[in-house]
């Protein structure tokens, strides 16, 4: 047999043709058979017939072969492509291994970028993207009373809203509180949620054993029942199987245990979901309009929309419903629907937005940096590539080789980034403030790994393609002409690298602005006059059992006794009570002023606090006018109040508030005389300006619960054991809860800002370093490129400073461009930080000037090194080397 002639091969130039080959093969066989029969003497027609008989059905065989061969060809092509890819990958890995410095730099930069983005995205995912853990969460809405702002509902309002059956299929309400559990061991403060009897069903809270609340069990007259958390049941009752039907004592009242709630996200109410705060017990509301009148707004209301009703329709209908209520004169307020997610996310949105922005910028900087590194590398490799092209390597093949290499780098970076992300999420969970919603749920799960992978591949493709395209479009002659391996690259390449540097500087600028704004805000916040002195003050919460201290005088007596005993403790400077600690909010509402009438929608409004004698002295809140409370302001004495400065200014401008009379309207009757004006205390939060506040003496408006504040001479927490002892000696069934120092309270309020500031700080320093390195690399590179020119100039008498100046000029142009772009971007991006910035504008001139100075100095330093090196070139040796 002979080889088939060479030209035949060109018939299959476009790859194998399966059908033609099969037909060729079978036809050959049939023709040969036919020839045999002809030779044996058969007439042509018979010969053909006989051949077919011998062969069988050629159509059938041909079909089978075509199918088979097509399948095989496809498989073959696949394996071939795979093996090419593997070869590229092997080659790429070898190259990366040989340049460990470059590889490490790229992987590190990518790991930081991808890691930071993935970590932050994991947090965002938990907070914003994962659906709420309730049945049909899209039909659940939060319902608010809306006067001037959104506020919780009052009980009568909740009852009104229940009539809106054209909107809600079901409406439930709850509020969270703390109640002491006594009997059988140490008294303990429990986190308790009181809810309408339908809410467990709405939220899908299902008992593991026992039952949920039955309809009607939230009525005032119903028997008291409770569901316990599995954790409490195991811890406190040893997992006793006969717990159902047992009676426990909450706040001195008997509750029959009817169910055990297993742990899980569903057992958490929406407002607690953010912080994953655990609940120990669920009890029915048991309210009526007498104990919970219309001016007491404390209920969180959740509605389940009627099936098929979308949010916009529901809003329309509820507005109409609210108008009808207003027309009937029940209330002036309207009703607002909110997405349940908003109830969960609360005030954390600005923080989340800021975090996302920062992470994206870090990723962008990492990518520009990597693109720059790749460009620099492809410049170095240009010769190698040119030679390969000259030796006949297809451009596509080289392009693929370069891309595979970049993708390998990106994947390595991504893998390292996952480690960074895991560490980052763990760090955020450990350090992050409790106010970041659902932070505890944040994990780097499979979806996040997918996200990181996609991010790496995208980065690799996007930022590897450009350098690869440029490198593969290499002209051998040009490369060989230019000689020295470093001295390559046309003006286009320089422009691209320059553009990348400008982008990096701009991004750095924006991040630094963010960090600067946040640092200055925190600074301003720390300098805010809180209105009290937090140093060495510890606070704790006491709740009196209502049946043993039912009468007002009993409560007053208890609080006075406790105060006297605590005051006698060594190390205690002063002690007092208040109904709510500063910076934590509290009761507020309308009040009356003697001799004035206001239209119903413009009632005077104030924060309301109950305070004991010595409160302002303990807190060191300055007295502006008049006096503070003393022991003589008792139940029988003339009713008095103290107001803050903002109150005095708003309601009695230009006159003295002292001697004026107001109606406190919170469990009080008649008028009270203003006897003192004190300095403004930040009652809501550190960043919220003071609202008008009325303080009423404890003895004239008694309360079953209060925070006491103790100013100590030494470490405030050291006093806590003896504090507990004093309380136990007075009543062994009284637990002390929420023990913390006021300094901790202040720090808690700053947690979000601190987190944002640290992240922006870390990210911006990182970006600054990356930008400086990028700039250094580019300037060094141009210096090498201009060696000859510089050498000639110096030989012709140019002085060193001229050389330095000419090199620096190039760096300065890039810096100035970047800074200008960055400043413009920051002016726009600043708005996303507005929720976190305090005391300054987001376009704060000082911050912008400081950042511009810092960035310019750093960048100049980075360019100075190569510039000086250029100035020290020896012209003789440069010219000789050419």
């Amino acid at each position: 047999m002979r080889e088939q002639p060479r030209w035949r091969r060109y018939l299959r130039f476009w790859g194998p043709d399966v059908a033609a080959d099969v037909d060729d093969e079978l036809r050959f066989h049939l023709d040969m058979l036919e020839r045999d029969f002809l030779a044996a003497g058969l007439p042509p027609a018979a010969a053909r017939e006989e051949a077919l008989a011998r062969f069988g059905d050629p159509g059938k065989v041909s079909r089978w072969l075509r199918d088979h061969d097509t399948r095989e060809l496809r498989r073959h092509r696949r394996t071939e492509a795979m093996s090419d890819l593997l070869q590229d990958a092997r080659y790429g890995l070898r190259r990366l291994w040989r340049g460990p410095g470059f590889t490490l730099a790229v992987v590190l930069v990518l790991a930081l970028g991808i890691g930071a983005t993935t970590a932050i995205f994991s947090v965002l995912d938990a907070a914003l993207l994962r659906p709420l853990p309730y049945p049909e969460p899209e039909r659940l809405v939060a319902v608010h009373d809306f006067g001037e702002t959104e506020v919780p509902a009052s009980f009568p309002e909740y009852l009104d809203w229940k009539q809106a059956t054209e909107v809600f299929e079901d409406l439930g309400a709850y509020f969270s509180t703390t109640l002491p559990l006594t009997g059988g061991g140490e008294p303990e403060m429990l986190n308790v949620v009181q809810m309408s009897d339908n809410l467990p069903r709405m939220l899908g809270v299902l008992p593991r054993v026992g039952r949920a609340f039955a309809p009607g069990e939230d009525a005032r007259s119903a028997e008291r029942v409770a569901m316990l958390s599995e954790e409490l049941w195991r811890r406190r009752f040893g997992g006793d199987a006969s717990i159902l039907g047992r009676v426990i004592t909450l706040w001195d009242k008997p509750y029959t245990v009817i169910g055990i709630i297993p742990p899980g996200r569903r057992s958490i109410i929406p407002t607690h979901l953010a912080t994953a705060r655990k609940i120990d017990a669920w009890i029915p509301l048991r309210l009526d309009t007498e104990v919970a009148p219309r001016d007491l707004n404390f209920l969180d209301v959740i509605g389940r929309l009627r099936p098929g009703l979308d949010f916009a329709q529901a809003e329309e209908r509820i507005e109409a419903f609210a108008r009808r209520l207003q027309e009937s004169g029940v209330t002036d307020d309207s009703i607002r629907l909110g997405r349940l997610e908003r109830l969960v996310i609360g005030d954390a949105r600005p923080l989340l937005v800021a975090l996302a922005g920062a992470a994206v910028m870090v990723l962008l900087i990492a990518c520009t940096n990597v693109a720059n590194l790749l460009l620099a590398r492809s410049a170095v490799r240009r010769r190698e590539i040119a030679v390969r092209v000259a030796l006949g390597a297809a451009r596509g093949r080289i392009l693929r080789q370069l891309l595979v290499e970049t993708l390998l780098l990106a994947l390595l970076g991504g893998a390292a980034g996952v480690l960074v992300a895991k560490a980052g999420v763990a760090g955020l969970r450990a350090l992050g403030p409790a106010t970041v919603p659902r932070l505890a749920e944040a994990t780097v799960d499979a979806r996040m790994l997918g996200f990181a992978l996609a991010l790496s591949l995208l980065t690799g493709l996007l930022f590897g393609l450009l350098p690869a395209l440029r490198a593969s479009r290499t002209d051998l002659a040009e490369v060989m002409k230019t000689g020295a391996p470093g001295a390559v690259g046309g003006p286009a390449r320089d422009r691209l690298r320059g553009a990348l540097i400008v982008a990096e500087v701009a991004l750095s600028f924006a991040l630094l602005i963010g960090a600067g704004l946040l640092i200055r805000s925190l600074d301003r916040l720390l300098a805010v006059d809180k209105g009290f002195d937090a140093e060495r003050v510890v606070s704790a919460f006491v709740l009196l059992p209502s049946n043993r201290y039912a009468e007002a005088h009993q409560q007053v007596a208890f609080f006075r006794e406790l105060r006297e005993r605590v005051a006698a403790l060594p190390g205690v400077q002063a002690v007092a009570y208040v109904s709510n600690l500063p910076m934590t909010g509290g009761a507020n509402g309308g009040f009356g002023i003697e001799g004035r009438t206001y239209p119903p929608n413009a009632q005077p409004f104030a924060e309301k606090r109950i305070a004991s004698p010595g409160y302002f002295e303990t807190m060191r809140t300055p007295v502006i006018a008049g006096r503070t409370f003393n022991e003589r302001d008792g139940a029988g004495a003339p009713a008095v109040v103290v107001v803050n400065q903002t109150f005095a200014r708003r309601y009695f401008p230009g006159e003295s508030a002292l001697g004026k009379r107001v109606d406190f309207r919170w469990g009080t009757t008649g008028m009270q005389e203003i006897v003192g004006v004190v300095g403004d205390v930040r009652e809501q939060a550190l960043h919220q300006p003071a609202e008008p506040v009325i303080y009423i003496p404890l003895a004239q408006r008694t309360t079953e619960w209060a925070y006491f504040v103790v100013r100590t001479t030494g470490d405030p927490m050291a006093i806590v054991p003896s504090l507990r002892q004093v309380v136990t000696s007075l009543d062994r069934n009284l637990p002390l809860s929420e023990v913390r120092t006021l300094e901790d309270l202040v720090a808690e309020g700053l947690g979000e800002r601190r987190l944002a500031m640290s992240l922006f700080g870390a990210f911006s320093v990182l970006s600054l370093v990356l930008a400086a390195l990028g700039l250094y690399a580019v300037i060094s590179y141009t210096v090498v490129q201009r060696r000859q020119e510089i050498g000639i100039r110096m030989a012709l008498g140019a002085r060193a400073e001229h050389v330095v100046r000419s090199v620096l000029r190039q760096g300065l142009a890039l810096i100035a461009g970047g800074a200008a772009l960055g400043a413009l971007a920051s002016l726009w991006l600043g708005r996303f930080l507005s929720g976190l910035v305090f005391g300054i504008g987001t376009t704060d001139l000082t911050t912008f000037a400081a950042v511009a100075l810092l960035l310019t100095t750093t960048a100049l330093l980075a360019s100075m090194v190569p510039a000086l090196r250029a100035a020290h070139l020896d012209p003789a040796s440069v010219l000789r080397s050419e």
Binding site: E25, F55, G56, L65, D69
Partner: protein, 114 residues
């Protein structure tokens, strides 16, 4: 054997093909002729069925093929047995022989049918 014994041949067709290629490279037509000659026309196969059998052998790596020119200058696909094919042929052939001998012994026992 007639054409209706094709089923019986299915398993042994591969063996016959490998044996046909053991000596030299052949195209499908050549294989058919070799089998016809060697078996003295006793084994008659539907020659089209050679091709699927060849593809299966090729898939298993027992034969390989290439395009060449036939004696009368026509483009033809030639098959050759591979090293693995040769090993398979030996193993399969001895199994076949053992089986054939066993059948013979059975048939020769008294009362003999042969």
């Amino acid at each position: 054997m007639g054409r209706d014994t094709g089923d019986l041949l299915q398993g042994t067709l591969g063996l016959l093909i490998l044996k046909a290629l053991a000596g030299e490279e052949r195209h499908g037509y050549g294989i058919a002729r070799w089998i016809q000659e060697v078996t003295g026309d006793v084994v008659q196969i539907e020659e089209g069925s050679l091709y699927p059998a060849l593809r299966r052998l090729e898939d298993r790596g027992f034969v390989e093929s290439r395009w060449g020119l036939s004696e009368n200058n026509r483009r033809a696909r030639y098959y050759a047995v591979t090293r693995a094919g040769r090993q398979h042929l030996h193993a399969d052939a001895s199994t076949w022989m053992r089986f054939a001998r066993a059948v013979m012994r059975v048939l020769e026992t008294e009362p003999s049918v042969v």
